[in-house]
Symmetry: D2
Subunit: 357 residues, 4 copies
């Protein structure tokens, strides 16, 4: 299977380059009967889209999505849903300075090694622009899961460089995510991180981020051991997002320092007494809140000069012009939610195939 | 697709329960012409098998693998390779005390929720016994990759509870992994961790671990963006191992605190000047050493009593009898290598389909 | 996997309903470097499109295809190719007479049973309009195979009701297919069949057809036994075309009456001495011409009244208004070629993954 | 995906060569809770196994199947079911006369072209011996479908060379299939065909056959248009059986001569008035009896000398020694039923994923 599809039964296939005519996706396997309109998708797309704040790239995209098939009289028909977003901001630009360069931290080098050549305009297929379609497809999954199970997604930036907020901090509040342009679940940390980013922009540098995800309402029983475990597929989904370098479930790397008597979540007739596992046991959802964290690397496009080579193996210095997100993790928040939704929708259908529920 | 297969073109499908008659696997897609014998598989299986040291379960298994097909006159034929290991140590045992219990930290609860009932003998399919077939299949992939590209796998336990060794420590040496029963790349840390584990065994407790993986010789160009990225599939492969709760690539979670100017690996005509990325850029291998880390949770089977419920939602106390690994991460080392080998073999074939190399 | 994708490595996913805004496809897995433009696709699309002769439906569609991604500077990049055709002829029409009817021979009944409701405008997803995207995708595969191996596709209508032409008839000539609107490889039979169809149109009836396919230049070695045989995948590909009810390879059903000494194709140092097998042995291409035949059922939309029921299980009489193809097999010719091309391209890549060639 | 798996959700993967140590299969995706024992599989295996009558090869195989996993306390657990049959009749034999020969009609030539070399003992993987595992897996699917829907499979040989029985003949009776060693649904035709085969054996020749399949009780709604149609997957399943050269659904190739007014199955409030479609409309099952036919080519292994070449392109004469089935279509009957059962089980689970039923 080529690599541009995700999911087994709720299956998304995407296409599109940063500066091509359009982005698109086909969602195949969405059950019939779901009420769906373009408005349902647009809200999430708008959260991801560039140009929303001083902390995101200045590129102007309407990111207006069209549903081209699979919906009739306001409801999904069970046939594939075609989506398209026209790329409107494809300013003709001079790429002569970068077309032969391998920008450090970017996929220029590896795309050339893999395919022999590449669409160098704005990163081509390797651009984060591709994630718009993940968000659009994820919005369909979210609507389905909301209606079916009341599943809710909470995600936010819990660390930007030196500024972080702990989950058990008094300062942590999910609703805050919608109150600041950094999508942080803490007003005070968001403010400090905002100041930090302003400085960083002046220096022409960027910084990494950590994003936390919690999903409530996931029914027990999702996940297909031994390879297609719920957590394994979630790890793949999240690691497939541009710039993500680490994924953890529940207590994550901290478990390496925990005792068995400390980690195992005991159970009472009223339910689990703790949630170190992050809602997954043996690769199957337990009905507890699903918890995951991911780390986004710093944006590679910075104005600080960097040393590199070109296609002809000649040493070059690269400076990225134009405004770029100083912290790609911020716009990663809706993408993290979208990918988690795709995993859950897919595993729900896989489970329903097995037991009819 | 049900969940017991891994890989698209180098595809492994496994079966087998802890206390069933046998474990088995089919490897479909191994190219023809590879010299292969049972001996090639046995070495890795022996590393994983129980009863090797005081730190692993006392269960005695020969773990003797048979090749049932796909090899003729000492070479693979291109047809599917059938493997089988008979379970020899299936002592008749009284399961009446645990058959209705949901042992905390185990998959008992979730298997019951998913399937309606379960094979409760030794954990059934959710037992780590299943990983023997991963190791056997991985050994085939390793041989293939060694011959084709000279790829080498290095993995070891870098943390056991409070005892850890840093990669840049003078004390860190890969060859040490083969010199101590904890598979640690440091003699001194292994000794301290060994003492620690002895105490833990006396207390009837267990502890988590961190395992580091480095793979050299991986050619540039492997990975299928945008979803089947090399790192995304590696994350899935590693997260699918029993007890793994976190996976990182390159600098992992540390990237959330890094600057762009610090993280991006600059390039000179002689190659990359650093490897924060861990050998993957844009989801495609860069030719640098592939670096990953995983965290194993502590063994859930401990002799310290724990609170739980049974199938009838009645409160119960559970105490796991018999000797269990105090640290499952130790035997995880060959499994981590095996899963990485399966990912690389699979992506190599996927890449070869595209460009013939 | 939902059902709107075809192929493992050269993978096509389509969307679109008869009267929706657009049809589309994503071709994922096309190797990089192939020269490709919209013109390459348009020629085949024009052969399939309606309104070309008196024997096809009067629906007017430009069937103008756009390439939305995956091609840069005139060559494929290895990233997914997005295609779109806008539906231009969606005249607002009154569907009140048929929206609740199950037209005999159509998929109305089964779509309702499967999905609970359906897009009844022009057959929705079950319309042959969907095949436009097969032809567009197939055109890419054809170009690839032509360049790589010089593979050529020959297909034509060899039977329309009582009018047929035998392969060994003196009258049979492939070039004739391009000389008559019935795509028949015989001028005289085409003329007779044309007269026959004119009568049929007057009677408001339709007729079935047989299409023969020959593909030259297919290299030996394609096909993945035991299930994904070359002939098995070809059978699936052809049977998946609207209205096809039978598929044969080589001598087809005639083999039931043949002796072993008659059927087996003997071999000399100069090659095979006959081709009863139709170019496939043991599920693998032999290097001989690949030969297949398919039967298309008569168009179900006819003006002769038919007995049926509606959604409420009430008896109804149905009469299909408007002009429809009296013989859907005719426009099936480019679709048969396209599907065969998709199978061959896919199996070539699968074979190349195994042996690098 | 390599080629030794069949099905998306009820997925069978097989291994094994004619003269290797064993045949095996993994059935992944069988829902939990089905009562299953080796006895359930053995009945169908015994119908297929060699040495049952004078009309089948003399090879003696117990074909004793073992269930190695996935069943606990007599019921399937939802985990993969491992099956194995040891090859007992692997007489050491001298293959020196055929190891370099390409036997006409066999896969020797194509396996060599594909893989570079082959296991030449008894045809290796290309031997019909592989089909034992299809029958074993199919028996599980049949049991599931019988319990769930009361689905019944009827298949029989309707033509052997010049001897055939029409479906509407007074002489046609399904129960007869179990009364004669030719699995023919007519006592008189079976007797005549038996005499014919005896003569053929004396002449050292073989003959083709036609097999008809009818499946009752298939619910409406199975099949995933547009590519994974019910009939398309059935065509693939049947064409993937050794020696099959043609597959038809319903009226098959006869539709090329039918009128629309004749073919379309009209509907009354009491159901369909005819079944030309063979139980499939628009690629989705209609609830009517599913009807298919296949043609088996004559056995290629005959004692009549044949002209061929060896690996070194030298002309050779081949004579197959030992007793072989004079008509492979006979033992094809249980295989046809098995493959149909796999398709139906798979599509049922796919449909259940979509609508929960």
């Amino acid at each position: 299977m080529p690599g541009n599809s995700f999911g087994e039964l709720f299956r998304v296939t995407t296409f599109g380059e940063s500066h091509g005519p359009a982005l698109g996706a086909i969602i195949d396997g969405c059950p019939p009967g779901l009420e769906l309109s373009e408005t349902d998708l647009q809200y999430e797309l708008d959260r991801r889209k560039p140009g929303q704040s001083r902390y995101t790239t200045a590129r102007r995209e309407a990111d207006q999505v069209r549903i081209l098939s699979g919906v009739f009289e306001g409801r999904t028909t069970g046939t594939p849903i075609g989506l398209m977003i026209e790329n409107t901001d494809q300013r003709s630009k001079d790429y002569s300075t970068i077309k032969d360069l391998y920008r450090p931290g970017h996929a220029d080098f590896t795309y050339d090694k893999k395919y022999g050549f590449r669409d160098y305009r704005g990163g081509g297929r390797s651009s984060a622009r591709e994630t718009a379609m993940r968000v659009a497809a994820g919005a369909i999954a979210r609507k389905l899961l909301k209606e079916q199970f009341g599943i809710e997604f909470f995600a936010g930036v819990t660390q930007i460089g030196p500024h972080s907020v702990a989950r058990d901090s008094a300062d942590f509040a999910w609703p805050q995510v919608h109150e600041n342009p950094l999508f942080m679940p803490s007003a005070t940390v968001a403010e400090a991180a905002g100041e930090y980013l302003k400085d960083l922009l002046k220096q022409g540098d960027s910084v990494g981020a950590r994003v936390r995800l919690e999903v409530t309402g996931v029914p027990a029983g999702l996940g297909e051991p031994v390879f297609d475990r719920f957590d394994a597929d979630l790890a793949k989904a999240l690691m497939s997002i541009n710039a993500v370098k680490a994924v953890s479930i529940g207590d994550g790397f901290a478990v390496a320092g925990q005792l068995g008597s400390e980690h195992r979540d005991e159970i009472s007739p009223d339910g689990f007494l703790s949630n170190h596992a992050g809602g997954v046991l043996g690769g199957i959802s337990s009905g507890q809140t699903v918890i995951a964290e991911v780390a986004f690397k710093p944006t590679s496009s910075i104005t600080k000069p960097g040393q590199t080579i070109d296609r002809f193996n000649q040493p070059q210095t690269v400076v990225t012009r134009g405004r770029h997100d100083p912290c790609v993790g911020i716009r990663g928040v809706p993408i993290v939610e979208a990918m988690a939704a795709l995993v859950i929708a897919d595993h729900w259908l896989r489970q329903r195939a097995q037991n009819g529920k």
